[in-house]
Amino acid sequence: MNEKELQAQQQRQVHAAGEPTKPGKQFLPAVDIYETEEAVVVVAEMPGVAKEGVEINLEEGVLTLMGERHNHDQKGKVLLREYESGRYVRRFTVSEAIDQEKIEATMVNGMLALLLPKVAPAKPRRIEVRGG
């Protein structure tokens, strides 16, 4: 049983190196990354992002996660504002060889789970040395 009390994590805003073309704030989603024998799994917290709003890119070893929040937020007068809407962006360098064809992503309850299967290790090849 996990009786730990949850603490609110602060929204971490990033100022991207390149200027974004769309206006709006960018935030870093909190992530868990773990590795099993077969795959690397990335889990990212993206509340307010629907399945359609997620964009994932793996290019030259750089994994980019992007999530666009849907915007049915503001209604009437604001009495309290503790989180802001915007876009989630986070990039990682992936050192393991990933089988790009088999990448799977699911989005449930604002949690993005990304399965990056490793390329099956090449079988050791024995090279015979022949005598002359």
Partner: protein
């Protein structure tokens, strides 16, 4: 403005929150000047972070609760207090897992909010979409703003 009206209610807001906010802003400013990573953060310290809105008919409470299943969530209203309780469960995964990063937290949470007006308890609605909790609290009939016609003469 509604925000000022709220700060008159000490049970709802910490009277020092304005100073805390200022300190926060100053810290953020200092951080940005010292060139420390381009990351700044703001927000509450109680989980879940909430946005609260109000219009003539309703009070809207929205909260960020990614990864919380609807059945692990308990929303109740008693008098003028809204209580949001729940648990965020850890995901199960197999053995032989090595973590590279672990930033997502798990555990229980509970947050009470004093509502600014009385609400119609029978018509409170809550739903959870994509990790956001949406609670709509219709105001009680007698506190709704009423249009008063001004007669001439």
């Amino acid at each position: 403005m509604a925000i000022i009206r709220f700060s008159d209610r000490p049970s709802f807001r910490n009277p020092w929150s304005e100073f805390e906010r200022m300190r926060h802003d100053m810290d953020a400013l200092l951080r940005s000047m010292s060139g420390e990573a381009g990351v700044t953060g703001e927000g509450g310290t109680v989980y879940p972070p909430l946005n609260i809105f109000e219009d003539g008919d309703n009070i809207y409470v929205h909260g960020e609760i990614p990864g919380v299943e609807a059945e692990d969530l308990d929303v109740s209203v008693e008098g003028d207090t809204l209580l949001i309780k729940g648990e965020r469960k850890a995901r199960a995964h197999g053995e032989k897992v090595s973590y590279h990063r672990r930033e997502i937290q798990f555990g229980t949470f509970s947050r009470a909010i004093t509502l600014p007006t009385r609400v119609n308890l029978d018509r409170v609605a809550a739903r959870s979409v994509d990790g956001i909790l949406f609670i709509t609290l219709p105001k009680a009939e007698d506190v709704k703003p009423r249009q008063v016609a001004v007669k001439v003469g």
